[in-house]
């Protein structure tokens, strides 16, 4: 984490241009720039600045966004639930579809699902997520009209549900707000479908290889010879193929965060990803810095969870 902070700090210091000039605009007088530089501490040595930055981050101060003129941390916290909601549902759908298809393909080897999954596994890695999203919008929204418009997390005319967890679906259920629930669930369909189509391929491929090996191993053959029903066999084979699957799921979380940047922009989702794109477009470096920091922290958290889950999946591993 220290390394991450070190790098994000120097990344921003590498920027061409003077932050004071950027804050004040082109009309600033030289005196104003000098005084602001003094106030921002830009005249101190780079190490003094770095220590001050560490101190600020430790106190939860990520700087002030140049574009929204709110504290970056506040901006990020406001938008984080939107992104988390999107990523979590997408991950859930990815795991269910990826594992189900892989298991079916292995159990019914040479069947239609097996062959289709091979083609899908190859194609899924080649399709850009933003393009899939556009095709889905065109077919499901414009042509068929079954999906809601790609503008935000909830119908613009509906007030969002009272904030409890920040997840619209859960909040609206907790408050019994059915209109909000239906609207926000509908809005989730297209972006979640997009992320699932792109991600499930990788998970499916890995699961097919790992599960296939376990499914053909000796202890499964022994279980079958002992007359255990197929459902028990599949379950115990799946349990033994969990560790690599958990690793990939952890990795995919990081990938989803990147993909969310693209997908959120398309669906006007108002989450972290869209915030980052705005930061890039508006040269809002404190905001961008904050986002990169939060993204890295999120990934570290996910990897830690992966390590803990490992122990549950395979008691032989000690973390």
């Amino acid at each position: 984490m220290f390394g991450v902070m070190f790098a994000t700090f120097f990344l921003i210091r590498l920027l061409p241009g003077d932050p004071a000039l950027l804050l004040l605009g082109n009309m600033a007088t030289p005196e104003a720039i000098v005084s602001l530089r003094e106030r921002l501490g830009l005249n101190d040595s780079i190490w003094v600045q770095f220590v001050r930055y560490l101190d600020n981050v430790a106190h939860g101060d990520l700087g002030t966004s140049i574009f929204t003129s709110n504290p970056v941390l506040q901006d990020l916290l406001e938008r984080a639930p939107a992104t988390l909601e999107l990523i979590c549902w997408a991950m859930l759908a990815t795991v269910i579809i990826g594992v189900a298809v892989a298991v079916t393909a292995v159990v019914r080897r040479g069947g239609a699902v097996d062959r289709a999954s091979r083609i899908y596994g190859l194609a899924a890695g080649a399709i850009p997520d933003f393009w899939v999203a556009l095709l889905l919008i065109y077919f499901l929204f414009y042509l068929l009209g079954v999906a809601p418009a790609p503008f935000g997390r909830i119908d613009a005319l509906l007030p969002p549900p009272n904030r409890i967890t920040g997840f619209y679906i859960i909040d609206s259920l907790l408050t019994g707000n059915w209109d909000a629930f239906i609207s926000s669930a509908g809005r989730l369909v297209l972006p979640v479908l997009t992320l699932t189509i792109v991600n499930a391929g990788a998970l499916m491929k890995l699961t097919r290889t790992v599960f296939g090996d376990v499914y053909r191993s000796d202890f499964i053959r022994h279980a079958r010879a002992s007359g255990l029903p197929e459902s028990v066999i599949v379950r115990s084979a799946l349990r033994n193929s969990l560790p690599p699957i958990i690793t990939l799921v952890g990795f995919l979380f990081g990938f989803l965060l990147g993909a969310a940047v693209l997908v959120e922009t398309l669906f006007a989702w108002g989450g972290l990803g869209q915030y980052a794109v705005q930061a890039v477009v508006n040269s809002d470096y404190p905001a961008l810095q904050g986002f990169v920091l939060v993204a890295a922290a999120f990934i570290l958290l996910v990897y830690m969870t992966v390590d803990i889950l490992y122990e549950f999946a395979d008691p032989r591993i000690k973390v």
Binding site: L134, F255, G258
Partner: protein, 281 residues
């Protein structure tokens, strides 16, 4: 050598055939773009804005009246230039670094590994986006950033191979016969460690194409009017909601086929070099 060609012939199935055909198409598009593209890729014609596909414009025109077919053809140059050059750069830097940190095990090589851990702890796309916007949105900057992001991958692959190879008897034999460290690394270890990296090159080119397109799509990569696939899809994004499908569809298909091409070639390389690999065909 004969066994190698025999191996190539045995694995050359439908998938590899499609892969090589797609590669040939792209090479033709790169080499002959001025001759086969019907229009200039950057000349706007406001009078023929957003025309659907027709005999005059096979793939239609975009919002400023530029011919999409011509832009898709010309964009092959930019997209492959960025992705191939970034992967080659990552290969040229990553392979020697991987060799060195695998062969010499000291504080310095541990330090480099920590730097790699650090680079790879970010989501690739997020870090790429931040770096390109800091360096400035130029074609070369995109290539440089992607190259830097890919270095750890190549170095790690080589390092893993070196770690297992350096304990093998033929390396001890080379050392006993007085070979220098450099000659052991480059003449004895490197040729044996390259196989997984060659496969990775092909896959990485596909990844680089996707990343480049994604960066341009959100406006953090190359800029208009440069013909680039991701940028073109981005241009068609607003119109897609209104039912104008051709602006975004064709450049997106170009991305899919291009990435697919390098995935198939990587698969083929894997099959030829590793007899145990599971393949599509």
């Amino acid at each position: 050598m004969k066994a190698f060609f025999e191996n190539v012939r045995r694995h050359f199935g439908l998938a590899a055939g499609i892969g090589f055909s797609l590669l040939a198409i792209q090479i033709i598009a790169i080499a002959l773009a001025p001759y086969i593209a019907p229009y200039s890729p950057i000349d706007a014609d406001p009078l023929s804005s957003l025309q659907p596909p027709s005999v005059a414009h096979w793939f239609g025109t975009d919002v400023s009246g530029m011919d999409i077919l011509s832009r898709v053809i010309y964009a092959t140059r930019i997209n492959l230039l960025i992705s191939v050059s970034s992967v080659i750069a990552a290969f040229i830097v990553g392979v020697p670094v991987g060799l060195l940190i695998g062969y010499y095990r000291n504080i310095f090589s541990n330090l480099i590994m920590r730097v790699f851990d650090f680079i790879q702890s970010f989501p690739v796309f997020v870090l790429g986006m931040a770096l390109v916007s800091v360096l400035g949105q130029e074609v070369w900057n995109v290539a440089i950033v992607l190259g830097v992001l890919f270095i750890p991958m190549f170095a790690r692959l080589i390092r893993a191979e070196v770690l297992s190879l350096r304990e093998r008897p033929f390396i001890s034999a080379a050392r006993c016969s007085g070979a220098s460290d450099l000659s052991i690394m480059f003449r004895h270890i490197l040729p044996n460690a390259l196989t997984p990296v060659i496969v990775q090159v092909s896959i990485s080119i596909g990844m680089a194409i996707l990343l480049t397109a994604g960066l341009s799509f959100i406006g953090a990569g190359v800029r208009m009017p440069t013909p680039e696939w991701g940028l073109m899809v981005g241009n068609g994004a607003q119109q897609m909601i209104l039912g104008v499908w051709w602006v975004a569809l064709f450049p997106g298909l170009a991305i899919v086929f291009s990435v697919l091409c390098f995935a198939l070639l990587g698969d083929f390389a894997q099959a030829v070099t590793d007899p145990n690999a599971e393949t599509i065909s």
